[in-house]
């Protein structure tokens, strides 16, 4: 069963991992609806 399809997605990206906007593009293609997206920076 598709995890992302039709869900409200909260994206917490990481500047040193995968940043928010990159994740957004990915999960939108899987049918998720972006409710909130942020990129965290720890350094």
């Amino acid at each position: 069963m598709a995890i992302l399809q039709g869900k409200k997605a909260i994206v917490i990206g990481d500047r040193d991992g995968i940043p928010g906007p990159a994740i957004e593009l990915c999960i939108q293609s899987a049918g998720a609806d972006i409710a909130f997206s942020a990129t965290e920076c720890f350094v």
Partner: protein, 840 residues
């Protein structure tokens, strides 16, 4: 493009444990959200002493005492390792203690906002007086301070922020305005800390680079603070505030803000300013951030580590005009993360690394070292942020794999070969690319590496103005040894065949002969252009300066003193090539010096014509012996010269006329007048003397610091000689005469040229003066001749021997001046004359 250079760098850490608790945002936030927190209670036990902070290996690396390679040898984690005998000061800067810094903040405060306890000021002032770089002017700005009672009176300064050192309150920072939040005590404190740390770092930069403070024309501050008031919250110009205290009386400046990428942005801006010629010396400076103190403190303490983020970190760099030695910033290779780039890690690395490299025809393995974000892994790993530099190197390598530049299996080796250990404090903009500048400069100048790429990245989204990421990168390379004059004379476009201008307006053989020479040279594949008209010589000079032509052939040119021309001829009968150094011009007014300089000029000419290790002979003329001695001295001190020996049966270093005809040496050294005579004789003898038809002409003007390529022919030079001169000109352009000249003079100076010249001049002066009369010892029969004494020193040499008790007479042997002595005295006489420098 005449690239700007990285002329110096400065790095300072300020140990501020007292500021961690009251200004680091992790701590100030905790105090609001969870005032009874265990973390805050435990914090004081985890603070390091100043000595421990100084001895901490990454901190010693930051100031240049411990190389990055050596830091890599220290087993991680580093927090429990100490460097033996660690010094507060290092080649790049220092680790400053808190008390001195607080007094420095007071110095930087012009608005009576920093109130310090009188006794604290008295106690700390001598420490600043003892500081090697704090100036008298700065010390004069120290204010006396306030009574203890006033300092401790909490009520009257409610809105102020206390300054604690070792748990004792030593003063406070006031707000600058009752209503304006932009002038709150907190903002003033942060800003003054940034300013003060910038100031001391600039002082170290000035000291490291040796530049006159007044020569700095522009300062760019790239820290992450904002200063202003409610009407202009980020008005700025920390740069000028810093410049004022640091004594940069000739500078203005501005601030560049770009989150963590700002230092890289600022260096690119500074480089562009210098390369364009707008300014000659630009300082880039980034001060420390009190807000980031103890940022990951909770994680550190949870894991039993000391609080490692107890320092402000600051850096400064000097970008200057090309000096022919310092590493260049190559503005042709710039990486930019643009609006269109996007945020995927792949796109980021592509925009900052692989694309700019590709534009220069390079792949990722062509860069010796990358310096992206250089955070100390000791700090970031326990906080769950990993090893940031290493992650960056892996990303660059990973993209390289994707682009087919390296194999997947090569990824770990790439990280080792092109990566560096992180060592910078987590002070935001400070670790971003620039910590490596000081080490890079040393490595590039020592030839250990040939280039480096500095990468800055910024998280703009933190300001909530944009979701974007940002980054900029620049390329450092070892100096390509192009000096300004050279490049000004060099064409903007690299030509395959050098363009030679020909200006012989008053040839005795007529215009036609000159034109025919140009046509002949062009038919042979050279590129010559005739410069005609009443002002052809001025035109020629202008074209040389602007780079329209690469070199010129002229019948006449007023070379400055210090420049003389090296002729080139084929010898009669045997047709061997010979360089005659020199044939026109004056290398120096002192004869010995002139001959030595002529020798170097001859070597330069021969080398630029492709003779790798030319042999040198000195014509047997007045001054020849002294020249021989001086060249020997140079050769023995690190400027090796290949000397030819005379072809005559009795050998020796001095060349006779026979040797000239036999071209026993590649380069024949003589004074210009003699050389001029030789050129005419050897080039015109087949025509009865009226027309010079053999050889390449009198040659290019060569001298220390001279880079124009102008070759001389005479008004009696015929078509063949002018055509050959064009060929000679073309050859020395392609052979990089200017570069070779610079290198030869540098080597000669390193081997003591200046000292030899000075000694020769003094000797001349001394021999011109009165000499006290020396009585001759009892006469002896003179049976032996000592050769090698310069004719003008002959009488003096005899007197010196007399003074040593050796009877001697002067005379003229068949090859030159001699000192005659009795053979029994031979050893002693030789010893005395050698000691006094009359023979070698």
């Amino acid at each position: 493009m005449n690239n700007s250079v990285l002329k110096g760098a400065g790095y300072v850490l300020v140990h501020v444990p007292g500021m961690v608790t009251h200004h680091g945002t992790t701590q100030t936030t905790e105090r609001i959200v969870n005032p009874d927190s265990d973390y805050l209670k435990q914090l004081p036990e985890h603070m390091r002493s100043y000595e421990d902070c100084v001895a901490y290996p990454p901190n010693q690396t930051y100031i240049g005492n411990l190389s990055i390679e050596d830091l890599g040898e220290v087993p991680e984690p580093w927090y429990d390792k100490k460097i033996e005998g660690a010094d507060r000061f290092g080649p790049f800067g220092e680790i400053m203690p808190e008390d001195e810094f607080v007094l420095l903040m007071q110095i930087c405060d012009a608005f009576d906002l920093v109130h310090l306890d009188k006794s604290f000021v008295q106690q700390v002032r001598p420490k600043l007086e003892a500081h090697p770089l704090i100036t008298e002017t700065m010390l004069s700005l120290i204010k006396e301070g306030h009574d203890e009672a006033d300092i401790l009176d909490q009520e009257s300064h409610k809105a102020a922020l206390p300054i604690y050192i070792d748990g004792r309150m030593v003063g406070y920072v006031k707000q600058a305005h009752d209503l304006d939040v932009n002038l709150s005590a907190h903002v003033i404190f942060e800003n003054l800390a940034s300013k003060a740390s910038s100031v001391v770092t600039v002082l170290h930069l000035l000291n490291n680079s040796g530049i006159d403070p007044a020569a700095v024309e522009y300062v760019i501050d790239c820290s992450e603070e904002a200063c202003g008031d409610m009407n202009q919250r980020g008005g700025g110009n920390f740069a000028k505030a810093t410049a004022e205290i640091a004594g940069l009386s000739g500078a203005t400046g501005s601030d560049t803000r770009g989150f963590c990428a700002a230092p890289a942005h600022a260096v690119v801006e500074a480089s562009a300013l210098v390369t364009s010629g707008a300014f000659k010396n630009v300082v880039v400076v980034g001060g420390g951030s009190t807000a980031k103190l103890g940022m990951n403190g909770k994680d550190h303490i949870k894991k039993g580590l000391p609080l490692l983020e107890d320092c402000l970190g600051c850096f400064a760099a000097l970008i200057s005009e090309n000096d022919g030695a310092s590493p260049e910033i190559n503005l042709d290779i710039l990486g930019r993360h643009t609006v269109g780039t996007g945020s995927s890690p792949q796109a980021v690395i592509e925009s900052l690394v692989t694309r700019p490299l590709a534009s220069a025809g390079l792949t990722i393995t062509d860069v010796d070292k990358y310096s992206p974000e250089m955070q100390n892994p000791d700090i970031t790993k326990p906080a769950g942020a990993g090893d940031v530099p290493e992650a960056n190197y892996k990303m660059i390598a990973a993209l390289g794999v994707k682009l087919g530049q390296i194999e997947r299996s090569d990824l770990p080796q790439f990280v080792k070969d092109h990566g560096l250990k992180g060592f910078a404090p987590t002070q935001g903009h400070i670790p971003s690319g620039v910590p490596y500048l000081g080490f890079a400069r040393e490595s590039l100048m020592e030839g250990r590496t040939k280039n480096a790429m500095i990468i800055g990245k910024g998280s703009l989204f933190l300001g909530r103005m944009t979701n974007q990421f940002d980054g900029i990168s620049f390329f450092l390379q070892a100096n390509t040894k192009k000096d300004a004059a050279d490049v000004a004379a060099a064409p903007a476009v690299i030509r395959d065949v050098p363009v030679i201008g020909v200006s012989v307006p008053d040839s005795e053989l007529g215009e036609e002969a000159v034109r025919a020479a140009v046509e002949q040279a062009n038919r042979s594949g050279y590129r010559a252009t005739l410069i005609e008209g009443a002002h052809c010589l001025e035109q020629m000079d202008e074209w040389i300066q602007s780079g329209k032509i690469d070199a010129a052939v002229a019948a006449h040119y007023a070379f400055p003193i210090g420049v003389s021309t090296v002729g080139r001829i084929q010898t009669p009968a045997l047709g061997k090539e010979l360089f005659i150094a020199t044939t026109t011009g004056t290398s120096a007014t002192d004869r010995a010096e002139a001959l030595v300089r002529n020798a170097i000029a001859g070597i330069v000419a021969a080398k630029s014509c492709g003779i790798e290790n030319p042999s040198v002979g000195i014509a047997n003329i007045e001054g020849g012996r002294q020249c021989e001695r001086m060249l020997n001295a140079l050769s023995e001190s690190g400027y090796p010269i290949r000397f030819a020996g005379s072809a005559r049966s009795d050998g020796g270093l001095l060349m006779r006329g026979n040797d000239l005809l036999q071209a026993t040496a590649d380069v024949m050294v003589m004074d210009s007048l003699t050389g001029n005579l030789m050129m005419k004789v050897l080039s015109a003898f087949t025509t009865g003397g009226g027309v010079e038809t053999i050889g390449y002409g009198y040659g290019p003007g060569i001298g220390e610091g001279y880079s124009k390529k102008i070759l001389i022919v005479s008004r009696a030079s015929g078509t063949p000689v002018i055509a050959n001169a064009i060929a000679y000109a073309s050859q020395i352009v392609e052979g990089n005469l200017s570069g070779i000249a610079r290198s030869e003079y540098e080597k000669a100076h390193k081997a003591g040229l200046s000292g030899l010249i000075e000694a020769a001049r003094q000797k001349d002066r001394a021999s011109d003066g009165e000499r006290p009369a020396v009585a001759a010892p009892p006469k002896e029969v003179c049976t032996e001749e000592i050769h090698g004494v310069e004719v003008m020193d002959l009488e003096e040499a005899v007197e010196v021997l007399w003074a040593a008790g050796v009877y001697a007479e002067s005379g003229m042997g068949c090859t030159g001046p001699v000192v005659m002595i009795n053979e029994a005295r031979s050893e002693q006489a030789h010893a005395v004359l050698r000691e006094k420098g009359y023979i070698s």
